[in-house]
């Protein structure tokens, strides 16, 4: 689903004959149409209209509002409904262009309409789109802006469809800027490959600035499903709230997403699970407030930066590395580099999915670009190791180099279990260092931006 909308301006001129008059009057309509979807001619697109309507000598309302149904092929109709005020009376203009393949130009430009007041007809007329003077401004006015932030909630609902051999994860990583501690809350549903009932489990971990990481597991408990996210016993994650307790850990956090969703893997792989797994962030950044207690310590968060993420797939990779780096100023770098467990694919170099969300745009534009390049040529490279791993690559006129360092003393090693029962080991820290360098080609490579994160990057490396 595209996240872009459509905005355009349209001006039409014509005449109206009011029921209480003999002659007719000139009319001018200046409209701004906004749709939540990209205007595709073979589809039906609904748009909101605002603008100005002028009936010579009788009405000049700059606050006309209405709706537009644009369906030139599917319904062969472009339907305008505009409410406006004339001499204190509230009138509605209702009319449509009836698109005909035999008369494409006329039928796309002529708008016969009827005026109503309280459902009674009070006038009618015809408006025309002036091709000679109006076409260029009309075409030049088209914009396809990103739609307003979509609700993150819709990505929180469980994806698992009951099939065996699936795993689904809701996880959250946070950096507390006050204490420089890291927090990791992991909620997982595993549907074993042998068809036995799905179970929910997970853990909570804290990475203090000084001293080793602590964690506590919860579950497994039978998975009963939940419409709005993860819920098992007293532990829940979803709809802007995270709460639960495990061992000596107790947490209660509110989550406030900022920014649009970010698909680390191609967006289609989230909607259609054809890849071994898919990873995405319901919101590119999030702010967390609340408390996390572990043992006798308590972290009080107030708008702490972090992110929630979602994974759905068949299990863990053979080898992988993950980075979430809040670069500040609303910019985020998300990387997953992985080698698949699938036969054949397991012999390949790690596929790198790198998403740099910067100034409201995501680079590279397509997630496939960094992973497969142009049929393998130009794909991004990852050198996975510990304590340091690297990713670099070039797309378009920009290239990036990322170096992640996971301090061994603050890295938590945990065992993962795949749906098929095989085990993997992950080494995770929410106190990683990262150096990110972005360069641009200006005849020579010039440094465009650089970030150095010290203890605030969230990273993980896994293998078997």
């Amino acid at each position: 689903m595209t996240s872009r909308g459509t905005v355009f301006k349209e001006t039409m001129l014509g005449r109206v004959r009011m029921a209480d008059e003999d002659g007719d009057r000139p009319v001018r309509l200046d409209l701004l149409a906004r749709a939540d979807a990209v205007l595709l001619p073979h589809r039906t697109t609904a748009a909101q209209l605002t603008g100005r309507i002028r009936i010579a000598g009788r009405a000049d309302d700059a606050e006309a509002v209405g709706e537009l149904e644009i369906s030139p092929l599917a319904r062969r109709r472009i339907h305008y409904r505009i409410a406006f005020t004339m001499e204190g009376r509230r009138l509605t203009l209702d009319g449509w262009k009836s698109v005909s393949p035999r008369r494409p130009l006329t039928s796309m430009t002529v708008l016969p309409y009827t005026l109503y007041e309280d459902g009674h007809r009070v006038g009618e007329g015809t408006l025309r789109f002036p091709l000679t003077t109006g076409l260029l401004p009309f075409l030049a006015s088209f914009r396809f802006p990103r739609a307003a932030e979509s609700r993150a909630d819709r990505h929180l609902a469980s994806r698992w469809d009951g099939a065996p051999g699936r795993t689904e994860v809701w996880y959250t990583t946070v950096t507390d800027p006050v204490t420089d501690s890291g927090i990791w809350l992991h909620h997982e549903v595993v549907a074993p490959s042998d068809g036995s009932p799905a179970y929910a489990h997970g853990w909570a971990a804290v990475f203090p600035k000084d001293g080793p990481a602590e964690h506590a597991r919860f579950g497994p408990v039978p998975w009963a499903g939940h419409p709005e996210g993860f819920s098992a016993g007293d532990i829940s994650a979803g709809s802007g709230r995270l709460a639960g307790s495990a061992g000596s850990f107790t947490w209660a956090l509110t989550e406030r997403g900022e920014g649009p969703p970010l698909h680390t893997f191609p967006g289609w792989s989230w909607r259609r699970p054809w890849l071994p797994a898919s990873h995405m962030l319901p919101a590119v950044r999030a702010r967390y407030s609340g408390t996390v207690r572990h043992g006798t310590d308590e972290l009080r968060l107030d708008g702490a930066p972090g992110a929630g993420a979602r994974i759905y797939g068949h299990g863990n990779a053979r080898r992988w590395a993950w980075l979430h780096a809040d670069l500040g100023g609303g910019d985020v770098l998300e990387i997953v580099a992985a080698v698949s467990m699938r036969r054949g694919l397991d012999r390949l170099q790690p596929l790198v999915f790198l998403r740099l969300y910067r100034n409201g745009r995501t680079w590279p534009r397509r997630a496939e670009r960094s992973a497969v390049g142009w049929a393998g040529i130009g794909r991004f490279r990852a050198d996975i190791g510990l304590p340091e791993w690297r990713v670099k690559g070039r797309a378009g006129l920009s290239r990036i180099a990322v170096t992640v360092t996971q301090p061994p003393e603050q890295t938590l090693t945990l065992d993962y279990t795949d749906p098929d029962g095989s085990a993997a080991v992950c080494r995770n820290t929410e106190r990683a260092d990262a150096v990110v360098t972005l360069e641009r080609w200006w005849g020579t490579w010039r440094r465009e931006a650089g970030w150095r994160l010290s203890g605030t990057a969230h990273a993980e490396v896994g293998d078997r």
């Binding site: 589809r43 039906t44 369906s71 599917a74 319904r75 062969r76 109709r77 339907h79 209702d94 009319g95 449509w96 009836s98 016969p112 309409y113 009827t114 007809r121 009618e124 015809t126």
Partner: protein, 619 residues
């Protein structure tokens, strides 16, 4: 029209009517024929003109001069020579139909001009000509057609609170306007194609349908039969047409609305009384028909619009009630196609209609519900040109009630056109699917074609006051088909068993007339036109097959039948067109099979049921 073709037509009229210049009325017949031809569809017009030219050419070959240049005696010889060739008889018969229509009108105008009677005021209707209707409008429901079915659907939907717009291709004619004009002038206005709708087949049949606010109910005979119980059982059990479940209650409702009652004997007229006496003589069941004409004055003009306002056609009964409930009627509105939104969730959905005005411009009405009630002959083409004609059975299953007629000559004046047009039903053979009805018509408008040409025809014309006419219709197999998209093309091949029944009906009507005291029976068959005794009639009809008969039909039904089987029925048991949401079939097309009686009540009850089921389903 060229001068040459006009001269040919003039000559032909003079020859066929043996115009010797002694009477005034024959002189104006050619002009009347020309006017009539102008209203007919181009193929019929061309055929008549072509026939006239062919006869003219024959005269030139035979005499060296054109018909119009010949004297009466020579003309008579030419047409007698033509008529002696049996192969040419059907051609002459076809030409005679419009000619007799014009001649009958002219003769009656000269002999007994219709006195202009004061007409009552019609109940008010909210009619707007399409030229005054806005180019863009919307409604909750659009009803295509204002005939029996459309009116009933409109009333039901309007009473349910929907904003209803009824679209009618014809114009609105008031009772007062009928009183002011000669029957033939009204005839050309009230019928589609000037009444010359022809179904191709063997034999070809004439299938006139009305076109005006009120549809065919404006020009039907007013006979109101309830749907027979066995037909209703068949619709329910064999076809699964669920809309017939409450048929009895719906028929009661319709009968109340139309004020249906048996026709009193006082105004029946001699034609009907003779039928009654004949039936009594033979011991056959017969009775005055139940009609929707309280206070009928026996004007015998039902087929051209009742001039006294007695006949409760739907524009006097149902449509005023619909308009009182808020429905609006747009006249002169030819529906080009139904708009369909193909991308609606759940499948395609009707979105409104495109209407063509008489001046060629178009208007559109958006509506989520479209009731198609354009008549069984025009509903299938409308659906086809809207892209909704995908069902293989759409347009098939056409039943028409083929009808034939017989006249009896009596020694005394019968003057069949004084009295009720369709007065008496003889139900002796009804179980065999044959319904005999005493049916007269204004001069020339009867479906009975007088025999002979030249002096013989002229003599018959001068003596029409002595003729009584009967008609019989048979409950036919669905042997017809409506083809075409922009123009309706009809095909009807009479089933062999129906052909036998038509001949049986012919014999039965002959017997009835003899029993009533007829001196001579005119069969209407050019090859065997007369019989003076019952035995002679049997002998004469032994030589006749159904191909020789003049067959007309008045009751097309079944072309978008409703039923449970999706393979056989284009509409579902509730009368909703399959394959699209929001299209109801609300006319005779939805009837699953032949109703076996005059279908007005059946169509209205079915349309009522279809509309009620829709409103019940949505509320």
């Amino acid at each position: 029209m060229t001068l040459r073709s006009t001269a040919a037509l003039k000559g032909l009229v003079a020859a066929l009517l043996a115009d010797d210049g002694t009477t005034a009325w024959t002189r104006s017949v050619p002009r009347r024929v020309e006017t009539l031809l102008d209203t007919m569809p181009a193929p019929a017009r061309t055929a008549v003109r072509g026939a006239a030219a062919a006869v003219d050419a024959y005269a030139v070959v035979r005499t060296g001069r054109r018909l119009s240049a010949l004297g009466p005696a020579e003309r008579e010889r030419v047409v007698a020579s033509l008529a002696s060739r049996r192969a040419l008889l059907p051609l002459l018969e076809a030409v005679k139909v419009p000619l007799l229509l014009a001649a009958g009108t002219e003769r009656s105008l000269h002999h007994s001009p219709t006195p202009e009677a004061p007409a009552p005021d019609d109940p008010p209707l909210d009619c707007t000509p399409s030229r005054e209707w806005p180019t863009r409008s919307s409604a909750d429901a659009v009803v295509v057609g204002s005939g029996a079915g459309g009116a009933m659907a409109a009333r039901t939907l309007a009473r349910a609170g929907l904003r209803v717009v009824v679209l009618e291709e014809g114009e609105h004619h008031t009772t007062a306007s009928f009183g002011r004009r000669a029957p033939l002038d009204r005839f050309t206005d009230l019928y589609r194609d000037g009444g010359a709708t022809i179904a191709l087949g063997t034999p070809p049949l004439v299938l006139p349908v009305g076109r005006a606010v009120g549809g065919t109910t404006l020009v039907n005979s007013g006979t109101c039969y309830r749907t027979p119980a066995h037909v209703r059982t068949r619709w329910l059990d064999r076809h699964g047409f669920a809309a017939a479940e409450d048929l009895e209650a719906h028929l009661d409702d319709v009968e109340r609305t139309l004020r249906v009652a048996p026709q009193p004997l006082e105004v029946l007229g001699d034609n009907g009384l003779l039928a009654l006496s004949g039936a009594k003589e033979l011991g056959w069941t017969a009775a005055p028909l139940r009609r929707n004409a309280p206070g009928c004055k026996g004007s015998c003009q039902c087929v051209v619009g009742c001039p006294t306002g007695a006949k409760q056609s739907v524009q006097l009964s149902v449509l005023p009630e619909a308009c009182a409930a808020g429905a609006r009627i747009v006249t002169g509105a030819h529906v080009r196609r139904i708009l369909v939104d193909g991308d609606r969730p759940g499948g395609p959905r009707a979105a409104g209609v495109v209407v063509r005005r008489p001046d060629g411009s178009e208007l559109e009405i958006l509506s989520p519900l479209v009731v198609v009630a354009a008549g069984a002959l025009h509903t299938p083409p409308l659906l086809r040109r809207s892209g909704l004609g995908g069902h293989p059975r759409l347009g098939r299953n056409l039943s028409v009630h083929p009808a034939t007629s017989v006249a009896g000559r009596f020694s005394r004046h019968v003057t069949s056109w004084k009295g009720v047009l369709q007065s008496v039903g003889v139900e002796h053979l009804r179980e065999d699917g044959i319904l005999i009805e005493a049916t007269a018509a204004p001069p020339g408008m009867s479906s009975f074609v007088l025999p002979g040409v030249g002096r013989e025809l002229r003599r018959e014309l001068e003596e029409t006051e002595h003729l009584a006419t009967l008609g019989a219709m048979i409950a036919d197999r669905p042997s017809g088909r409506v083809l075409g998209q922009n123009r309706t093309l009809l095909r009807y091949d009479l089933a062999p068993c129906d052909a036998d029944r038509l001949l049986r009906a012919q014999r039965a009507m002959g017997r009835l007339l003899f029993a009533a005291g007829a001196e001579e029976v005119l069969t209407g068959v050019p090859q065997a036109p007369r019989a003076r005794t019952p035995a002679q009639l049997e002998a004469v009809l032994d030589t006749v097959t159904a191909r020789h008969l003049h067959v007309s039909a008045f009751h097309p039904t079944g072309t978008a039948a409703g039923g449970a089987d999706p393979e056989r029925s284009p509409a579902d048991p509730d009368g909703r067109l399959r394959g699209v949401h929001g299209v109801l079939i609300g006319d005779g097309s939805v009837l699953p099979s032949c109703p076996e009686v005059n279908p007005q009540l059946s169509i209205m009850a079915a349309a009522l049921a279809v509309a009620e089921r829709y409103t019940a389903g949505t509320s």
